[in-house]
């Protein structure tokens, strides 16, 4: 079978074949998700070397424990959970002064305070090249606290549902929702600097 023919194969079938010991099917699953897992690992650890370790450990563990994958959640949700756990262990090892967890978001109320209110351009992303835009978006996400960053990446970038995100992170649905709201509001605030309407019409909506 040609490698390219895998792309059309449904994920469930690939998982089933991988569980039967088919190495090519497992490799195809890795190829489908390695980019997303590497990005997520980089966002959580903020360290490239750690992210690479997390990437390898995630797929090694997934391969080892494939028989424990129940198939009642998506394969991606399952490996995200492994990846997040691995990434948190790295973080804890680096920051020995305090334990790090995704449960640590402290609700001070501060992070829902809206400081800047200015209308944006209609298609703000068109003011920038792809590369510039990528950098702006990455920098903004990186500046969020880990609990917010991780929820935002899974919900709004990887487009997992609220329930899948809760499952992958071992959080309750209300906790996912409250972090997502805070992450979105903080990002909105950060991006306003770049995307607000230029010149005198910034308050044209008034």
């Amino acid at each position: 079978m040609a490698v390219s023919s895998f792309t059309a194969i449904d994920e469930g079938a690939l998982v089933a074949q991988a569980r039967e010991g088919d190495a090519a099917s497992f490799s195809e699953l890795v190829r489908r998700y390695e980019g997303k897992i590497f990005r997520l690992a980089q966002h959580v650890t903020q360290n490239r070397e750690d992210a690479e370790d997390v990437l390898q450990e995630t797929f090694m563990k997934a391969y080892e424990h494939l028989d424990q994958f129940q198939g009642n959640s998506k394969f991606y949700t399952w490996i995200v959970r492994i990846a997040v756990n691995q990434a948190l262990m790295k973080l804890r090892r680096r920051k020995t002064d305090k334990s790090v967890s995704l449960d640590e978001a402290i609700d001070t109320g501060e992070d829902t305070v809206v400081r800047e209110i200015a209308a944006w351009e209609e298609d703000p992303e068109e003011q920038f090249t792809r590369e510039e835009l990528g950098k702006i978006l990455d920098t903004a996400v990186q500046s969020l606290d880990p609990p917010y960053r991780t929820v935002f990446m899974l919900r709004d970038v990887d487009e997992l549902s609220t329930e899948e995100t809760a499952e992958a992170l071992g959080l309750s649905v209300p906790a996912v929702k409250s972090r997502l709201l805070r992450a979105r509001l903080q990002l909105r605030e950060k991006l306003t600097r770049y995307f607000k309407r230029k010149g005198g019409d910034a308050f044209a909506y008034l």
Partner: protein, 90 residues
């Protein structure tokens, strides 16, 4: 029905953008943004924020990183297949 404050609006904003609210609350929020220009801007810019990020493709994984990942996995898979074969031979 009681009017929403801006703070109430903000608390429901995520669910509003995700279309996860019941019709009654949704109507209240929509009423609020027609009357409150600040909340309209916050809703509009938050919606644009989510839209810009949605589906952002990851950068292709660096080839050296992928090569090391695949090499590690191949080793592991080969080891497992060997042990499976050994069990079958018994």
């Amino acid at each position: 029905m009681p009017l929403l404050t801006c703070k109430d609006f903000l608390m429901e904003l995520s669910d509003y953008l995700d279309e996860a609210l019941d019709a009654e609350l949704r109507a209240k929020l929509e009423q609020h943004i027609t009357e409150c220009p600040n909340c309209w801007v916050i809703a509009d810019t938050t919606k644009k924020t989510v839209k810009i990020y949605k589906g952002m493709e990851p950068y292709p994984i660096p080839s050296d990183v992928e090569a090391r990942l695949m090499a590690a996995l191949e080793q592991k898979m080969a080891a497992k297949q060997k042990s499976v074969a050994a069990v079958r031979r018994k």
